[in-house]
Point group: C2
Chain length 150, copies 2
DNA sequence: CTACGATCTCAAGTTAACTTTAGATCAAGA
DNA sequence: TCTTGATCTAAAGTTAACTTGAGATCGTAG
């Protein structure tokens, strides 16, 4: 696979694990803009495959296609962004990621804590059920999912 | 708000930020099983609110409702699980979370790297576009999204 | 040149996750 | 009791993200 590879939609599908129909749909949604062969068939550059990979990952974390399109659209293409542009533009996305990582890590750690505390049940656990007085007879960690107060 | 609070669906909606219709839908999907007042109105315990919070978070990370139902159903209720049961049951979920955290953290860090490298464009960046020889004239970090090879 | 699988477009169908609507009942204050 | 807002059920509608289907064209091995 060389740097100047240009791929057909079927090859891109095989490589990314996406369905051919999904790739065409993403084009309709403006996520990618593949080139066209003289006959009309789509031709994909590496950049397109990168974008598609990005789409898959972002999607797996609950980002919508319009939101992903925004993220991808804010990047290069029209005018060349300055370093400052880049920083400003990506800051929002980075913050969203940081936020999600924080929430998820918290959830994961809480789960670890619950497994470790030996209480045997999420429902009965002081950790899961902070304010249940019966459960608070035991001790151990006391937190879950930040404090959105439920 | 005391530990024995029992809430109406509207109060739960206000507290969780979910729509009333969504809460009813979640009940239909088996995610929660609120009690009923003599007249038929739903009555929610703290445990229900906890479950709903869990649903929101898991959903934000792309888990489907059936999958979330599995996670919630595997927990207490029928028979009392042993510590070992608990560990085995939650192991799968924990691994999914770890996996997601790893992927997302990588993505975030890659983005950091790209912002920091001064190349000004994701498309042109050696980081984003690893195998593009033109871009590799510059130096800096070289990676993105693990190596799923696109 | 001829197959024949890969693609193309456009339109309609599908699925998950809800929301909306309609008409009836509940619940709590005046 | 009366009234008024909150809930109830059941069914139909909505939206996002695709998939499927129909019929035509592309493109490459023979």
């Amino acid at each position: 696979m060389r740097a100047d590879d240009i791929l057909s939609i079927g090859q891109v599908a095989a490589r990314t694990g996406l369905a051919v129909s999904a790739i065409r749909y993403y084009e309709d949604m403006g996520l990618i803009t593949p080139m066209r062969a003289p006959g009309g068939n789509r031709r994909f550059r590496r950049a397109d495959i990168r974008r598609l990979s990005f789409v898959r990952i972002a999607q797996g974390f609950g980002f919508t296609l319009p939101r992903i399109a925004e993220l991808l659209a804010d990047l290069p293409e029209a005018r060349t962004p300055t370093a400052k542009d880049w920083r400003v533009i990506s800051e929002g996305f980075k913050q969203e990621l940081d936020q999600k990582i924080a929430t998820l890590t918290k959830l994961r750690d809480d789960l670890d804590g619950c497994i470790g505390c030996g209480c045997l049940s999420l429902e009965r656990c002081a950790l899961y059920n902070r304010d249940d007085r019966a459960a608070q007879k035991g001790d151990g960690p006391r937190y879950l999912m930040g404090d959105t107060s439920d």
